[in-house]
């Protein structure tokens, strides 16, 4: 139902094939969160995957670094219409954590310090598609950007890349997380503009 806003030209020359529909390129890195920023030290940080049977697999910060941190260069897309392109990240692929996790669950709920949650299908987390990220743009992740560790699921809108990650609860059903209960799409594919339901 689009119509023309006469007199609107927009910022040309900044359009890029890598931008999904409705997105605008930014050079800075905006911050979004629903509440105060939790302060979590690497000394206290642990990451726990809990299976649908209640089995817990836990990693400390040292355990995480021992798994092997890799470089990732990726575009990220926020549902609030900004994208950053070719952003350098470092993190541990989720596949490394799941190597010894026995599960038949299809979904995971990410749990975070501060109470944030988001649901992600397991197939969006595995096969090199997602990381537990610890650095961005050459620096350790700052608290406001989710440090010390956040989920990085760059092929989905960035609210899925949960900040202040502390665990994944595996689950048989695709239960909605925090923003998903507040009207955001269950999956959030930026190329399909899966913003809201």
């Amino acid at each position: 139902m689009s119509f023309i806003n006469s007199g609107f030209t927009g910022r040309r020359g900044r359009r890029d094939e890598r931008l999904p529909p409705g997105q605008t390129l930014v050079e800075d890195w905006p911050v979004l969160s629903a509440g105060p920023t939790p302060q979590v030290s690497t000394a206290d940080w642990t990451f726990t995957i809990t299976t649908e049977d209640g089995a817990e697999h836990r990693w400390t910060w040292d355990d995480l670094t021992a798994l092997g941190i890799e470089d990732v260069t990726t575009d990220i897309h926020c549902v609030t219409h900004w994208s950053k392109l070719a952003m350098p990240w470092r993190g541990v692929p989720l596949d490394a954590f799941f190597a010894d996790v026995d599960t038949s669950a299809d979904y995971a709920m990410a749990h975070c310090h501060g109470g944030y949650t988001t649901n992600v299908p397991l197939e969006d987390l595995l096969d090199g598609k997602a990381w537990v990220a610890v650095e961005a743009e050459g620096e350790p992740l700052t608290p406001e950007h989710g440090g010390p560790a956040r989920l990085l699921v760059p092929h989905l809108y960035f609210w899925k890349s949960a900040k202040w990650l502390r665990g994944l609860q595996l689950m048989p059903d695709n239960d909605p997380g925090f923003w998903e209960q507040h009207g955001y799409h269950l999956r959030g594919d930026p190329w399909q503009e899966e913003r809201y339901w």
């Binding site: 139902m1 689009s2 119509f3 023309i4 806003n5 006469s6 007199g7 609107f8 030209t9 927009g10 910022r11 040309r12 359009r15 409705g22 605008t24 930014v26 905006p30 911050v31 979004l32 969160s33 629903a34 509440g35 105060p36 920023t37 939790p38 926020c78 609030t80 219409h81 900004w82 501060g114 109470g115 406001e144 925090f178 923003w179 507040h182 009207g183 809201y196 339901w197």
Partner: protein, 244 residues
């Protein structure tokens, strides 16, 4: 909170007026609008003659079941959408609106006979959704105590000046960061922690707190609120200053 379906709507501009030297109030008529809760926002999409589109989010200053939407848009220097909205958009123009959006940073009247008090903390144009909450409270039977602490650069940067002054059920405290009105004993400076403690409802009252402003403002204020003893779950935040 009322569940209102999010959808694209065709809006028509019914009035525009200068809000401050850099901001403009825009009133839209949206015949298909389902109404919105106080504090929610919308996406505005503009389409150029060649089909190029750009979309940005704006908080809504109005709330309730009506079909009129009030926005107050601050022009962002070097912005893409806000300069058009502030300088070019005219009465009678159509605009595409997606919403209502946001079901977390919202306030709705409580049926509770003794509802928790509400503290609003605004930085700059972050006052827009908080003004919507205070105005909704003003119209309601909700008996909760309301306070607004509003940090602005200069007296000329105050959004909703007349409306804020007319609020009878919200105590409003203004702090000026760059220049203060004549006669103000407070020298212009950034909000300091002691003032935040003094001018907001304390943790003993267990207020629900809404903070909206730039990222540095929200980060600083919410950290001070936690250090003062407020529960993290009581503090809801929203920021502006992503893309313009």
């Amino acid at each position: 909170m009322t569940l209102r379906r999010t959808a694209w709507h065709r809006a028509t501009v019914v009035s525009v007026a200068a809000e401050t030297a850099t901001a403009r109030r825009i009133e839209l008529e949206v015949p298909t609008w389902p109404g919105n809760d106080a504090g929610s926002h919308v996406d505005i999409r503009l389409t150029a003659p060649d089909g190029y589109q750009a979309t940005r989010s704006y908080s809504v200053a109005s709330s309730g079941p009506g079909t009129r939407l009030v926005l107050a848009v601050d022009e962002v220097a070097d912005g893409e959408v806000s300069p058009f909205l502030v300088r070019v958009l005219a009465v009678g123009d159509p605009v595409e609106v997606h919403g209502p959006l946001g079901r977390f940073f919202v306030w709705t009247p409580s049926a509770d006979p003794d509802p928790a008090p509400v503290q609003l903390v605004a930085g700059g144009s972050g006052v827009v959704p908080l003004y919507a909450m205070a105005a909704a409270h003003e119209r309601s039977d909700d008996g909760s105590e309301f306070r607004l602490l509003y940090s602005v650069r200069t007296p000329d940067d105050v959004f909703f000046r007349r409306e804020l002054a007319a609020l009878r059920r919200t105590r409003v405290d203004l702090v000026h960061t760059r220049s203060a009105p004549e006669g103000d004993r407070r020298p212009p400076r950034r909000l300091v922690r002691e003032e935040l403690d003094r001018l907001t409802l304390g943790p003993a009252l267990a207020p629900r707190i809404f903070v909206c402003g730039s990222t540095p403002f929200v980060e600083t204020v919410s950290r001070w609120l936690l250090e003062a003893g407020h529960a993290p779950a009581a503090v809801r935040t929203e920021r502006f200053g992503g893309s313009a």
